[in-house]
C-alpha cells in the first residue's frame, strides 16, 4: 500500500515536470528571437572568431631604410622577408623618416640597415648588424617581431631549417601547423554555451515573476524542484543541439579534427551545459528583474572569456587571476575540450575537471532551490 502511494506521487510529480517542459517548449517555439539565437549565434561567432582570431603573425608591413644598398644588404632584407613575418611596404631615405612612419601608424615597424652592415657582420664582437624599430603598442605583434632578433643570417646561402636546429629543437606535439582556428573553436564552444544557456535560464524564472505568471504558478501544487527541473530539461536539449552545430561547422569550415573520444566529448559538454543551467537558474532566483538577470549573466560571461584561457594563456596569468579562473566552469571546460579535441586526452586525464563541473552544477542547484520560495514576498 505504502509503495503504491509513493509510486502514485512520483508519477504525479513526473507529470508536473512534463507539464512545465511542454510549456517551456511551446514558449520557446513562439519566441523566434531566442530560437534564432540558438542557431545564429554559433554560426556567426564561429565564422567571425574562427577566421579573425589569429595569433600567427604574418606579413607585417615594414618600411626599409637601406643605407648600404648593395648585394649584401639586399640579401639580408630578402631573407628577412622570406621568414613571412614581415613584408616590405616601402623604402625610405633616413632613419628619422622611418620612425615618423611608425609613429603615424603607416607601417608597424621600420628596418634600418646601416652603412657598415658588412663590417658589423664579419667582426666577431656580437654587434647587431641591423635595427628593427617596432611599434610596441600591439604586444602580440611586437613579440612576433622580437623573435626576428634570433634570425640566423648567412649571406652565402638561403636560410635552411638545419640552421634553426643549431639552437633548440622545438617539437610541436599537437596542432603542428599552429592553426589558431583549432585552438579557438573548442574555446568558442564554451563561450557560446555560456552565453546562450546562462542567459536563457537567467531570465527563466524572473521573467515569470515580472509577467505575473508566477502568482498563478505558485498557487498550483507544483513543487520547487519540479519547476526547476521542468525548466532545465528543454535547455539541455538546446545546448546539445548547439554543441552538434558548432562541431559540425568546425569540421566543415576549419577541418577541426576530434582526436579523442566523441562520447567523452559529449559527456563533458553535457556536464558543462548542466553547470551553466545551474548558474543561470541561481541568477534567476536572485535577480530582481530581467534586466538585472542579464547584467549578472554578462558579469559571469566576461571573466569566462578573458580568464578561462580562451583568449590568453592560463599559465601566463598572475596567481590570483588563476585562482579566480578556477571557479569558472569555462576554465575547466576549455581544458576538457582542448584536451579531447586536440590532444586525444582520456577520462583519467580529465576526471578532475569533470568532477568540478558536476559539483558546480550540484552546488548552484542547491543554492537556487534554497533561494526560491513559493511566495510573492
Amino acid at each position: 500500500m505504502h509503495s503504491n502511494g509513493i509510486l502514485r506521487s512520483a508519477s504525479a510529480s513526473l507529470r508536473r515536470v512534463m507539464a512545465i517542459c511542454v510549456k517551456e517548449l511551446i514558449q520557446l517555439r513562439r519566441d523566434r528571437l531566442t530560437f534564432a539565437m540558438v542557431v545564429a549565434i554559433p554560426l556567426i561567432q564561429l565564422l567571425l572568431f574562427g577566421y579573425t582570431i589569429n595569433t600567427d603573425v604574418r606579413n607585417v608591413p615594414v618600411a626599409v631604410v637601406d643605407q648600404r644598398d648593395n648585394f649584401f644588404s639586399r640579401q639580408l632584407i630578402e631573407d628577412l622577408q622570406a621568414s613571412q613575418v614581415i613584408k616590405v611596404h616601402t623604402h625610405l631615405e633616413t632613419p628619422q623618416q622611418a620612425t615618423d612612419w611608425v609613429r603615424a601608424g603607416k607601417v608597424s615597424a621600420a628596418l634600418i640597415v646601416p652603412r657598415d652592415v658588412e663590417k658589423r657582420f664579419y667582426n666577431d664582437n656580437q654587434e647587431p648588424i641591423a635595427q628593427l624599430v617596432v611599434d610596441g603598442s600591439d604586444t602580440i605583434l611586437a613579440s612576433a617581431l622580437k623573435g626576428l632578433s634570433d634570425f640566423p643570417f648567412d649571406p652565402s646561402q638561403p636560410p635552411s631549417p638545419r640552421q634553426l636546429a643549431k639552437n633548440i629543437t622545438v617539437d610541436l606535439l599537437y596542432n603542428p601547423e599552429q592553426r589558431a582556428a583549432l585552438f579557438t573553436v573548442p574555446g568558442l564552444l564554451g563561450v557560446i554555451l555560456t552565453m546562450t544557456l546562462t542567459m536563457f535560464t537567467a531570465i527563466a524564472i524572473v521573467r515569470e515573476r515580472e509577467r505575473g505568471n508566477l502568482e498563478l504558478l505558485i498557487a498550483t501544487p507544483v513543487k520547487t524542484p519540479e519547476l526547476m527541473l521542468g525548466k532545465l530539461v528543454p535547455y539541455i536539449g538546446l545546448g546539445l543541439l548547439q554543441v552538434v552545430i558548432i562541431l559540425l561547422l568546425g569540421r566543415f569550415f576549419f577541418d577541426l579534427p576530434v582526436v579523442g573520444s566523441p562520447t567523452l566529448l559529449m559527456l563533458c559538454c553535457l556536464l558543462f551545459i548542466f553547470a551553466n543551467l545551474g548558474l543561470g537558474l541561481l541568477i534567476s532566483t536572485r535577480a530582481p528583474n530581467q534586466l538585472g538577470a542579464m547584467q549578472m549573466a554578462v558579469f559571469i560571461l566576461l571573466p569566462s572569456i578573458l580568464l578561462s584561457g580562451f583568449m590568453f594563456p592560463y599559465a601566463a596569468m598572475p596567481r590570483f587571476a588563476q585562482h579566480l579562473a578556477e571557479i569558472l566552469p569555462m576554465t575547466h571546460f576549455i581544458r576538457l575540450t582542448r584536451g579531447i579535441i586536440l590532444r586525444g586526452a582520456d577520462f583519467s586525464d580529465l576526471a578532475g575537471d569533470m568532477l568540478f563541473l558536476a559539483l558546480f552544477f550540484i552546488g548552484t542547484m542547491i543554492e537556487a532551490l534554497k533561494s526560491f520560495r513559493k511566495k510573492l514576498d
Binding site: 502568482e215 513543487k223 514576498d377
Partner: protein
C-alpha cells in the same frame, strides 16, 4: 465537514512600516458567495494572497478548508481555485494551451483532461477563440479565461480577486450568475470587488478599509445595522446642496445620483425627513428610503477616515 471554509483570526500583514492588513477576523461559510468589499488599496488582495499561502503572515492565523496556512498550504492547493487580479496566464500561449497546462500541473487525470477543457471552453464562451494567444485577448476574454482556469479542476473553494474588472456589463452579469450556480452546486466563493451592485448580490459581505475590517454580515444585516437613516432629496438643483449638508454633525454624507441626493442622517435624529427639510427648505421632495449596500459602504469607510 467544517462549517467554515475560511477562518481568519487577527490576520495581519506588514510590509516594513506599512500595515496592509490589520487584525482581520473573518469566517466564510461553505456554499456561500462571500463578498470582500473595499476601496482600492484597502488590503483585499493582500488578505487573499495570505489565505492562498502566497504571502508570509506577519501575525494572526488562518485556516483554509480546516487546514492551517501556511503549514498546510500545499495540501489545500488542490482544492482551491485562485483567480489573480492581474492576468497571470501565459501571454505567448493559446487559450487551449494555457488550460491544458493548468490541467496537467493540477494533476487532472489524462482521460478527463480534453473533455473537461472543452467543457469549460464552452461554458465561458471561449470555444471560438481556443487557438488565439492569450496576450491578444480583450480584457473581458482574459477575465473569462482566468475564471475558466480557476474552476477547471472543480475546486471546493474559489478565491476570485476582482474577477469582473475590465469586463462589460453583460459579461459581468453572466459571470455572477455562474458564481451562484457554482455556489448552488456546493462551491464556496470568496470574491473581492469594489462595485456596489456586485456587493449587493453576495450572501455575506466583509468590508475592508485601510487594512481593517469595518463591517461584516449578510447584506440585510448590514443594512439594518446601519447607524444612519437614508433620506432622498429630489429636486431641480441638488448639486449645490451636498457641500452645505456635509459639514453638519448629524449628517454623515450626502451623495448625488442624477437628480437625487442621498443623505445619511444619524439614527439619533427622530424625524430625519423633518430634520433634512429644516436644512434645505421646502422646494425639494424628500422621502426616507431603504438603505443600500452603497450607504453601508459609505458609512463604514467614512467612519475610520474621520477617526
Amino acid at each position: 465537514m467544517t462549517e467554515y471554509v475560511i477562518e481568519a483570526e487577527g490576520l495581519t500583514k506588514r510590509f516594513g512600516d506599512f500595515t496592509a492588513v490589520q487584525g482581520l477576523d473573518m469566517q466564510i461559510q461553505r456554499g456561500q458567495v462571500h463578498g470582500f468589499l473595499g476601496p482600492n488599496g484597502s488590503g483585499k488582495t493582500t488578505a487573499i494572497r495570505m489565505m492562498c499561502g502566497l504571502l508570509d503572515i506577519s501575525a494572526g492565523n488562518v485556516r483554509v478548508l480546516g487546514l492551517e496556512i501556511p503549514e498546510y498550504a500545499e495540501e489545500v492547493r488542490d482544492q482551491v481555485g485562485y483567480m489573480t487580479q492581474r492576468f497571470s496566464h501565459y501571454q505567448d500561449m493559446t487559450v487551449r494551451e494555457n488550460l491544458m497546462f493548468l490541467a496537467d500541473i493540477r494533476g487532472m487525470p489524462r482521460k478527463q483532461r480534453t473533455a473537461r477543457v472543452d467543457e469549460v471552453l464552452g461554458e465561458y464562451n471561449l470555444a471560438q477563440i481556443t487557438g488565439r494567444l492569450a496576450g491578444d485577448l480583450s480584457g473581458g476574454q482574459k477575465r473569462r479565461l482566468s475564471l475558466a482556469g480557476a474552476v477547471l479542476t472543480q475546486p471546493q473553494l474559489l478565491m476570485l480577486d476582482e474577477p469582473t474588472s475590465e469586463v462589460d456589463p453583460n459579461t459581468r452579469r453572466d459571470m455572477w450568475s455562474r458564481f451562484f450556480r457554482l455556489a448552488a452546486e456546493g462551491t464556496s466563493i470568496l470574491v473581492s470587488t469594489h462595485l456596489m451592485d456586485e456587493a449587493e448580490r453576495c450572501h455575506r459581505l466583509t468590508i475592508l478599509n485601510q487594512g481593517e475590517k469595518v463591517a461584516d454580515g449578510t447584506t440585510d444585516e448590514l443594512k439594518q445595522r446601519l447607524p444612519q437613516s437614508v433620506v432622498n432629496i429630489h429636486g431641480a438643483d441638488v448639486s449645490g446642496l451636498a457641500d452645505s449638508l456635509s459639514d453638519d454633525g448629524q449628517i454623515l454624507a450626502a451623495t448625488q445620483s442624477g437628480l437625487s441626493l442621498r443623505v445619511l442622517v444619524d439614527r439619533n435624529v427622530g424625524d430625519p425627513v423633518g430634520y433634512v427639510r429644516s436644512r434645505v427648505g421646502n422646494q425639494y421632495q424628500l422621502a426616507q428610503i431603504e438603505a443600500a449596500i452603497e450607504d453601508v459602504f459609505v458609512a463604514a469607510t467614512m467612519d475610520t477616515s474621520d477617526a
